[in-house]
């Protein structure tokens, strides 16, 4: 009898502990919620607005990047103050892991700020799955607290790219956010010291490469192959102009066998021979800063990057007299166009979001003067007109690149239905690692691009 009792107690304990296991899920959720309120610091905004008539609450999920997450808290608070709509903010460096699981369960944030081109490719999946709400009407909405519409504030061209209008039907699905000119970053101090000039054509580039090699400096390095997208887009523009770019990014048949494409491949393949040989071994998500360090240490001259690099490497040691410099991609011939790719992030509303109207207001508010100023303080530059006045420090030089003759390149590879084993990065850019290490020839790379591109064309959205 005693034994039975003991068994009973034990089994009850076990069952209870198992249930406790289930229950702990809720607790975590609660603590996360609480955590969200505390960390992003919206609690003031939320409380302040609680008394307001609107009282609606939207959930906003934003990726935390080099710009930090404080600006989002401030913007959310300002939005609540302006409209009375509460904001429940989630920010995280690995946003996909935080919001992914609940979205798989059908619970979507109302606004997501998450750019394409990330490894988890969450935004791309939503584009491919037609799961993003049409926000074309936001463009004609009045910015909350101001009397101008969103489209009047936006700088030209930003809502005409395949990044914002992924289906090419003239409708806007993703709102352009924080733009950054991409180009080749270098140590301006080293160039002064050596008396070198920044090359304006690729021929000058190779000449400089030979000169640098004599001094034991490599011409080129890259953080990871992911950085080649902006590089390659600008290269395609400078070789063949917008027409070639559009054909190529829509995978037109035979486009990769044209002389223009060949020129692009040749330049990258030649650049691979000038690349610091240790680059591929560090070109992964864990070690990429060591490749960036090569430029800071004067071991490599140029790397493709964006303006966030300054903040990212702020704490890193550097050579004496180091000074950031940035140039557009050299022109292919004397007097040709130099291009700098305009990289920008995207904010969007999942089609399954509950509070679509409030979410649209929030997106409109992101272009208000208040929000732009908050963002600019953190170094994030919104693509609105007259933003130049708000720039500080290195950014003044970086963002003036288009005023100094470089043309802006925008757009990206057209989205296609997911194909097993075929992704833009793995087909086009990852092989650069093998080009540098000599494990692959240019011909093999081109063959892979043609084969991959054929499949992408067949699966175009």
């Amino acid at each position: 009898m005693k034994r039975k009792l003991l068994c009973a107690i034990l089994s009850v304990t076990m069952a209870a502990s198992l249930l406790a296991g289930c229950g702990s899920d809720n607790t975590t959720e609660q603590t996360t919620d609480a955590g969200n309120d505390v960390t992003p610091g919206t609690e003031e905004g939320t409380e302040a607005a609680a008394g307001n008539a609107e009282g609606e609450t939207i959930s906003v999920a934003a990726i935390e990047t080099a710009y930090g997450s404080e600006m989002w808290q401030e913007v959310a608070a300002a939005f609540t103050e302006q409209t009375g709509i509460n904001v429940e903010l989630t920010t995280d460096k690995n946003l996909e892991d935080v919001i992914g699981p609940s979205m798989q369960g059908g619970e979507y944030p109302d606004v997501i700020h998450l750019a394409t081109g990330r490894e988890a490719a969450l935004t791309e999946q939503f584009i491919k799955g037609n799961m993003i709400a049409d926000i074309t009407d936001v463009l004609s909405m009045t910015v909350p607290g101001e009397d101008v519409t969103v489209s009047e504030k936006l700088a030209g061209g930003f809502t005409e790219t395949s990044l914002t209008n992924p289906y090419g039907d003239g409708k806007t699905y993703l709102a352009p956010m924080f733009y950054s000119p991409c180009g080749l970053f270098y140590n301006a101090g080293l160039f002064e010291e050596k008396g070198w000039t920044v090359p304006t054509t690729w021929d000058e580039m190779w000449e400089l490469g030979d000169k640098a090699k004599a001094e034991g400096i490599s011409l080129f390095t890259y953080p990871t192959t992911g950085y080649f997208d902006a590089f390659f887009y600008a290269l395609m523009y400078s070789v063949g102009g917008p027409e070639f770019f559009n054909k190529a990014t829509n995978y037109e048949e035979g486009i990769w066998e044209t002389p223009e494409a060949q020129q692009c491949f040749d330049i990258v393949a030649k650049l691979a021979t000038y690349t610091d040989p240790i680059t591929p071994a560090q070109a992964n998500d864990q070690d990429f800063t060591q490749n960036q360090q090569l430029v800071l240490d004067n071991k490599a001259l140029f790397m493709p990057n964006g303006t966030w690099i300054v903040g990212e490497m702020a704490e890193a040691p550097r050579a004496d007299g180091f000074k950031w410099g940035m140039t557009a991609l050299p022109a292919v011939e004397e007097g040709g166009d130099a291009y700098s790719y305009t990289w920008f992030e995207q904010a969007w509303i999942p089609a399954g979001a509950e509070h679509q109207d409030a979410a649209k207001q929030f997106i409109a508010f992101l272009y208000s003067d208040t929000a732009c100023e908050i963002f600019a303080k953190a170094g994030a530059i919104q693509p609105v007109l007259n933003i130049a006045d708000k720039l500080e420090g290195d950014n003044v030089m970086f963002y003036s690149i288009y005023d100094n003759g470089a043309k802006a390149a925008m757009g990206n590879f057209a989205p296609f239905e997911a194909i097993p084993g075929v992704e833009v990065r793995s087909v086009f850019f990852d092989p650069v690692n093998s080009l540098v290490s000599g494990d692959m020839t240019e011909e093999e790379w081109i063959e892979g691009v043609i084969a991959g591109s054929d499949q992408m064309r067949a699966n175009l959205k």
Partner: protein, 294 residues
Amino acid sequence: MKSARGRNRFLVACIAPAVILFFIFMILPTLNVFRMSLFEKGAYSPNETFVGLKNFKMLVSDTNFIRSMQNTILLIVVVTIVTFAFALIFAGILSREKIKGQNFFRIVFYIPNILSIVVISGIFSAIYKPENGMLNSIIGLFHKMEEPILWKGESLVMVSIIIAMVWQAIGYYMVMYMASMASVPESLYESASLDGAGRLTQFFQITIPLIWTNIRTTLTFFIISTINMAFLFVKAMTSGGPNGASEVALSYMYGQKDAGLYGYSMAIGVVIFLFSFALSAIVNKVTDREPLEF
């Protein structure tokens, strides 16, 4: 009679919670993996379309998948053999020989097992650093290098992962072997040495046959843990690069999920599941011996 029925009811009540939870959280998801492998679905999209065996057909022609599978098999074979050999030798030495600081070595060998894989990956990333990394610096002392050796470069990256994985696993298996070696009666060794058997003969004729059941168990562990650990190491050390050279089956499966191919990645999961099951079964069958009693 009544008490027997009551007893049965009581037993059912005791087992039920565990069985139900096991079913919901283990069996059901596993079955779901098999089901999803027949569908096409994005990770976040609510729509799924039945495509039959299409995912599996595509797997056969996906060269990236084949390469990742090759890498997995390479890891299973090499890591198992090397770790097995080292763990067995160390265990033999530490449990049979009288050496100074036995406990010290026991602890030192076991420490890697306590560290998290991310930490180990960090340590090895620092060791493998091309410039002023530990390994290249040591080699540089004896041999003048023109170009640094790229341990995480395309040609050596798998070797580097193997080294890290072996280093991590030795301690665990060593302790397992030592535990079963400790239960081998001393008298057997005594009589063997009276018969003139040397230490090596004792090791192969007495120790190994008597811990054979344990060795068989660990071989299954090797297969399962290598498949799992490889994912962690790859994720934390190389993210599958350069150019996919260090991609293993699980990391490829994970990447395909991110590419929006949920069904396809589940098909990879099914292949890995069947593969590890089959391999374990084969290994178990091949190593089947009449258990020895002492």
